[in-house]
């Protein structure tokens, strides 16, 4: 029984490469948004909705260059609206800072119920999906090629046949929790932000040398801080948003984009992600990202059953932890 749809090797051009305070891959929210948009069209036509998606990356190219630190390559487009005088239309086009990337990805959509196995229906699914995919954007980038669309069951071998070689994006926020525990057990004082950057930042620390043989008791050694994850490709990842204001009715806020929905100010939530080579996965279920919205949290999670404490932005830089219970 097929309950997954694989969108194989989408080539996306000029996708947004910034997410929260991270760069290098579009935000998770844009993939789930893409899934959601397809789901609405698909369920209206065929009655199946998509509950989540898995993300595989085959290849990517960041439009950036490194000169001491990363800078993004910019482009100039004449503005279509001018705030000042119309004389501005004659001046050189402004540079609006943007971070763009090209990528080749596969997206595995999970359906809420089994799809039809009738050949005509399958043909129809694929035809319609192709139409919707080509007319939508992914993370702001345009999709100009899709290799194929396949319907799959739970068979992981079959999936691997189509997606290798690639890396799959996993939620690794539990590492942060373990790391947290380690510091608590050893009574080391370090704020959450620093503990988070331990995973991907290049850090050194000074160690006092207590070697009795030497005369110099005050000799200082510099030592590299080994990241807590000995293995794995761990990256900072934006996981969603947290509301930082009450939920306003639309008529209470000025300059809204859309007056039909209530409004709330939010900030980005960061956790950890892991890129794992797809040949090492053994369970499709555990790869699927879903929305997880509760109270003021708007999150994308892979395993909602694992309860992890979340930290308030305001608490990150001071050290009195309190676990936020759901």
């Amino acid at each position: 029984m097929a309950s997954y749809i694989l969108l194989e090797r989408l080539k996306v051009e000029n996708a947004n490469a910034l997410a929260g305070m991270t760069y290098g891959f579009p935000a998770l929210t844009s993939f789930l948004g893409f899934t959601h948009a397809l789901s609405r069209k698909f369920s209206a036509e065929f009655g199946n909705a998509f509950t989540g998606c898995a993300i595989f990356c085959h290849d990517y190219e960041l439009n950036a260059y490194q000169d001491y630190y990363i800078k993004f390559i910019q482009n100039r487009c004449p503005p279509s609206t001018l705030k000042g005088k119309s004389a501005d239309a004659k001046s050189p086009a402004p540079i609006i800072e943007e971070a763009k990337m090209d990528m080749t990805i596969s997206v595995l959509l999970q359906c809420d119920k089994s799809l039809s196995t009738n050949l005509d229906n399958i043909k129809n699914y694929i035809l319609r999906l192709k139409q919707w995919i080509y007319s939508s954007r992914l993370a702001g980038g345009s999709i100009h090629h899709i290799n194929d669309i396949k319907l799959l069951g739970d068979d992981i071998k079959k999936l691997k046949k189509y997606i290798l070689p690639s890396f799959v994006l996993l939620d690794a926020s539990h590492y942060l929790q373990e790391h947290e525990q380690y510091y608590l057990n050893h009574h080391i004082d370090k704020n959450t932000f620093d503990r988070w950057t331990d995973f991907f930042a290049f850090k050194y620390q000074a160690i006092q040398n207590h070697n009795d043989d030497s005369d110099e008791h005050n000799e200082v050694l510099w030592q590299r801080i080994i990241p807590p994850n000995k293995k794995g490709w761990i990256v900072p990842l934006m996981l969603g948003f947290k509301g930082i204001s009450p939920l306003y009715p639309p008529e209470q806020v000025e300059n809204l984009r859309d007056h039909r929905y209530p409004f709330r100010f939010v900030e980005a939530i960061h956790g950890l992600g892991e890129w794992k080579s797809s040949h090492r996965i053994d369970d499709i279920q555990s790869l699927i990202w879903r929305y997880d919205c509760r109270d003021e949290w708007y999150l994308c999670r892979q395993k909602p059953q694992i309860q992890q404490p979340l930290f308030d932005v305001n608490q990150i830089f001071n050290d009195d932890e309190e676990d936020l219970q759901f």
Partner: protein
């Protein structure tokens, strides 16, 4: 904190367009790949040869300083420049530029719009445009820019001959070959050509039905053995070694390859605006109106000109069209619709 907004009535907002308004583009070109090969009068032979990637190379020059305002003592000094350069290998004479371009429908639907009434009005007027005029006039102009090789930009200049092959990626039977692209005039869109009409019909159809059309475009340009080619330039600062010019390259399966930005190709495809009024003090020959790219203000930054600044800009025309008088000409309607196809953020007031 959120400000409590005063409820606006529609009469109060004097901007011709909503304060939040955006359209997504309906013509999506991909980046253009630039490869090298050998010329052949028979197009079928082109597909049989292997095209090799054009790789960028560094070029260092010892030039002179000749810009205006150089101090006297510097006029005799050399000017060292380092930058990227691209050219055909000495034994090859033909440049191949290939890209895909996607045409989408659903033109008058805004992606964001905070005034539903505006949307309803636009849809009404657009429906009338679609029924009375149709998309063929616009589609024909877009198609013509593919056919005449305008998207080649400087690579078109001085080429001996150009063959353009356009095919429908979903339907291999649909293929159009134009072997006289070099001789087609760039500013006369009224050229008669049955193949062009056929292609224009396909594009108009996708605008109308919303069924995507994904065209593959290949241009073969005979520029001469070892001649220079012109990829897009990247906007970035000098690097540590004082290299100041960087050209665009695309990652392919067999290494890096010089390329044209998709924005640059898109700009060439939408260079169809010949409906603007020339400024009165313009000394140019008025008999030929130069086509400019579709922009709300008719901006051509390279000329320091904006040809549509008052009364003929997108916003004035849109307001006139949506008002009850409906007093704009068919050509100006083309211009407004072409702007919707171009897409962008058209918000009215801050």
């Amino acid at each position: 904190m959120a400000k409590v907004s005063k409820k606006k009535t529609n009469g109060e907002n004097n901007a011709p367009v909503p304060s939040v308004l955006a359209f997504s583009r309906k013509i999506e070109p991909s980046d253009g790949l630039m490869q090298a090969g050998l010329w052949n009068a028979d197009v079928a032979q082109f597909s049989k040869q292997t095209w090799q990637n054009i790789e960028l190379h560094d070029k260092s020059n010892r030039g002179v300083k000749s810009q205006y305002g150089v101090a006297d003592e510097e006029k005799s000094q050399p000017n060292l420049v380092r930058g990227d350069d691209a050219s055909l290998p000495p034994h090859l004479d033909t440049l191949k530029v290939s890209f895909t371009v996607k045409f989408l429908g659903d033109i008058a639907t805004a992606t964001t719009n905070n005034e539903p009434n505006f949307g309803i009005k636009l849809t009404e007027k657009f429906k009338v445009y679609q029924d009375e005029i149709g998309f063929l006039p616009l589609a024909r102009r877009y198609a013509y820019n593919l056919v005449n090789g305008r998207f080649l930009w400087r690579n078109r200049v001085g080429a001996e001959s150009i063959i353009v092959r356009i095919y429908n990626t979903e339907n291999p039977k649909q293929e159009w070959i134009f072997d006289n692209a070099r001789t087609m005039p760039l500013n006369d869109f009224e050229v008669e050509n049955t193949k062009l009409d056929e292609l224009a019909n396909c594009i108009a159809e996708s605008f109308k039905t919303g069924q995507y059309l994904l065209l593959g475009v290949e241009a073969f340009v005979k520029v001469g053995l070892g001649q220079r080619v012109f990829p897009s330039q990247q906007m970035r600062e000098k690097d540590k070694d004082n290299k100041s010019k960087f050209l665009y390259q695309i990652k392919t399966q067999n290494g890096l390859c010089a390329g044209l930005h998709s924005e640059k190709i898109g700009n060439a495809i939408r260079t169809i605006d010949t409906w603007y009024e020339l400024p009165k003090d313009d000394l140019l020959d008025k008999s030929v109106v130069q086509a400019i790219a579709i922009e709300p203000y008719g901006s051509v930054p390279t000329q320091g000109q904006a040809y549509r600044t008052s009364k003929t800009d997108l916003y004035s025309l849109m307001a006139n069209w949506l008002s009850d008088d409906d007093n704009i000409s068919t050509e100006q309607k083309h211009f407004v619709v072409a702007n919707l196809i171009r897409g962008g953020v058209f918000g009215g007031k801050e």
